[in-house]
Symmetry: C2
Subunit: 456 residues, 2 copies
């Protein structure tokens, strides 16, 4: 397919695209709201119709016990790779409603953006995949790869039913590459590929002493205080260079090649902007690494919550019976969450004093994910972005996890390409969510080119 | 008055004493229970009657806005000291009721003890003072000192109305010594005088960074975590010898004379028993001091509560916006709570890193109290105890505070003698409260002898 022809076709359809997407957006598919069960089904059915109209075959709604999963495929490119496209049709709640400048479920163009709940996350991006497919058909071109689609309605509430479905439908979903458009570009007109996600090891540590809170007048100063011990422990989890002190914590961390660090350094970054976004007083982290490196290529440890003793208003004079900290460690590729949890446990048991008891409760965990930059699928995505945006893409990682990425990788054994067209400041979970229109239309073109690139 | 005559008289009246006390105990004067307002007044009236029957004059109920205060006096010992007796007629709630072996408001003798709510704390002890007074009258003896009585009905709910009353009735309550029987002896048949109480300085320290909790995937490792900083701060509040590290914290602490430390060392003490009472794993505290010394003669610092970030069930991956610790410092004589709060604030501001904000909220405070062992009033109490119990009393301090002690000392300028006849294991705030009968009867004798001793 000639790119200029594709581009002209997409540009000629802008009005129709916006109209069709508005129809999907209008359905209030808020998965967190139990009163919207019917809307969830209605939204799944609407998207199924769009898929069928585009020419996608075998479109099926799978009952899950929760919101339906939508499947569809088009497998007529014999000998060519199979691409599995993932997206989600559920959206975040809209409160506080009063902060929306236009009604959240009424797609509204203002300036360069389309405003609506789901415009960016993820109805808009899911829609781009359907329109990329449709473009081939409308232009009477062969679809250059085999395509499979899986769209869920529970992403915003933890993808509860997706993982078991993937595990039990390995043959149906089998693919050579998984493409997900549910992330953000680094900035406007900055084509971006996300090639790495951090993993997670989460646990709870509880230090206890007496069976009940004790009067600090009668016991204060003569027994150890669990809050003090927990504070000592937390204080010992980092050294003065911001490094995690758990022995062997970094053993499996692979040095990131210089080129990759240079790539990260090439990204526009401003402390002022980062502090504005975070509302934090200052940047702070592991010595020797930039903010983006700290977030993407370095493992970290954070206490996510701490509590013990009297936490109400006013004053109560007790020696707390116990104190608890919730600790999460973000992991980088080649680290194992199980091993890290064990190392943590060993360390705590080594440093806990004999004046108290300690208990560690291992909670959830997930492995880090990485699709190497030089993987053919990543190269294809890179070429597609460069073709459409006229510049080489930026390669970034994410500091967080996307659980479904791991499930796809582990279950299907396929690399995942995160090719998102959102923007970090598009309020995807806040009022006035929007989608940059140029990314919307160029995204459709990029995905069409991607299918071609993956074919060759 | 001849002691043998007094002793024989008290012993002859045991049955009547128990009957009369049972009548007071029967009135359910639970100050924490708003539905017992009438019982509070009824109890105050009953005690007033007992006072009048004993011969106490000017018995008056003062309205306070809460439960009435009972005043009475007998001032016929010209040129002799005036003794102000304090007690309280309100009692702790009785739940869990099912754990009482006999009904809480039905005074029951079992073995060597009288079981009932209020038997020890403080109806029984208040009653002893009335009977000591009455003994003189029944034996046709002059009352050897001038006596004033102030009994409150809000001790178990914070003595809300007592302090303003004392401040506004300085002339009425003016006295040379205040005697309070509301504490415990160190053990059975171990006559005890409590001569010191620790003071208190309470504050809240809040470390904050971002305005809201942040996603730890997007920000973890690149900004400072308020929980980590608070843990560092708490961890730095004690050194490895268990000493408080706030600079100048110990400057005003007066060395306790060797004789006093020897006196403390003479007290029976068992780690096993202390650990049984506290339920703690081990004793722990400032290096170089025994458990009783740590509790009584050394200032301490304890975090009474800590909280920040996610404290619910399960896991949430956030960088907390802020974290708070409630900190109390128990102070010893000659330390000033205002100065200690200032020193703490200065120290925190010195050690807090520039990556976060910190706020300190000074809360309540109270000064330590000490009536020197060689004070004439203490010597009189000591002589009275030795006369009745046949052995020299133990001198102890308390690790906690009794706010009214300070108010009496500050407002009336009078020393306070804490001459209690309870026992540490008499469940004064728990089911099956009881009073050791021998202490009950010997207490009456001791107080009568005390009035004589104070007279000479």
């Amino acid at each position: 397919m000639d790119y200029n022809e594709l581009s002209a076709y997409v540009d000629s359809r802008k009005r129709e695209y916006l109209n069709e997407l508005s129809g999907i957006i209008r359905i209030e598919s808020v998965s967190a709201d139990p009163s919207k069960k019917k809307e969830m089904v209605r939204c799944a059915e609407s998207i199924s119709s769009l898929m069928r109209e585009a020419g996608i075959e075998n479109v099926t709604l799978f009952e899950t016990g929760g919101n339906p999963l939508i499947y569809g495929d088009y497998k007529h490119a014999e000998g060519k790779p199979t691409v599995l496209v993932y997206g989600h049709y559920d959206v975040q709640p809209v409160d506080p409603l009063s902060e929306w400048e236009t009604p959240p479920f009424e797609a509204t163009v203002r300036g360069d953006d389309l405003y609506a709940r789901g415009s960016s996350d993820d109805k808009g991006q899911l829609f781009m995949h359907l329109k990329a497919f449709e473009a081939f058909r409308k232009l009477n071109e062969e679809i250059p790869v085999n395509l499979k689609y899986i769209f869920e309605g529970e992403e915003e509430i933890g993808s509860i039913h997706l993982e078991p479905f993937i595990r039990s439908h390995g043959e149906l979903l089998k693919a050579d590459v998984v493409v997900i458009s549910d992330t953000a570009m680094y900035g406007r007109d900055m084509p971006t590929i996300c090639y790495g996600l951090r993993g997670m090891a989460y646990l709870e540590i509880t230090v206890s002493n007496s069976a009940i809170d004790l009067h600090s007048g009668s016991f204060g100063g003569a027994i150890d205080n669990p809050v003090h011990v927990l504070a000592d422990i937390v204080s010992r989890l980092h050294d003065k260079y911001g490094r995690v002190t758990v022995p062997h914590f970094y053993d499996d961390v692979v040095d990131v090649p210089t080129e990759e660090r240079e790539e990260i350094a090439r990204l526009p970054y401003s402390d002022a902007e980062f502090l504005r976004q975070s509302g934090a007083v200052a940047t702070f982290g592991e010595y020797g690494f930039s903010t983006n490196e700290r977030l993407w290529i370095r493992p970290t440890l954070d206490v996510n919550g701490i509590y013990g003793g009297f936490t109400g208003e006013g004053a109560k004079t007790i020696i707390p019976s116990k104190a608890t900290a919730k600790v999460s460690m973000r992991l980088v590729p080649n680290q194992s969450s199980a091993k890290i949890l064990d190392l943590f446990e060993i360390f705590i048991n080594q440093i806990v004093p004999p004046t108290v008891k300690v208990a560690i409760k291992k909670m959830h965990s997930g492995e880090p994910a990485l699709t190497p930059i030089n993987h053919p699928a990543v190269k294809a995505a890179s070429a597609a972005l460069e073709r459409v945006f006229g510049r080489k893409p930026y390669f970034i990682r994410e500091g967080g996890s996307i659980p479904e990425v791991l499930t796809f990788q582990e279950t299907l054994g396929a690399p995942v390409v995160l090719l998102g067209f959102g923007l970090p400041d598009e309020n995807s979970h806040a009022p006035n969510e929007h989608l940059y229109l140029r990314h919307f239309f160029d995204g459709i073109k990029t995905l069409a080119v991607l299918y071609q690139e993956l074919s060759s």
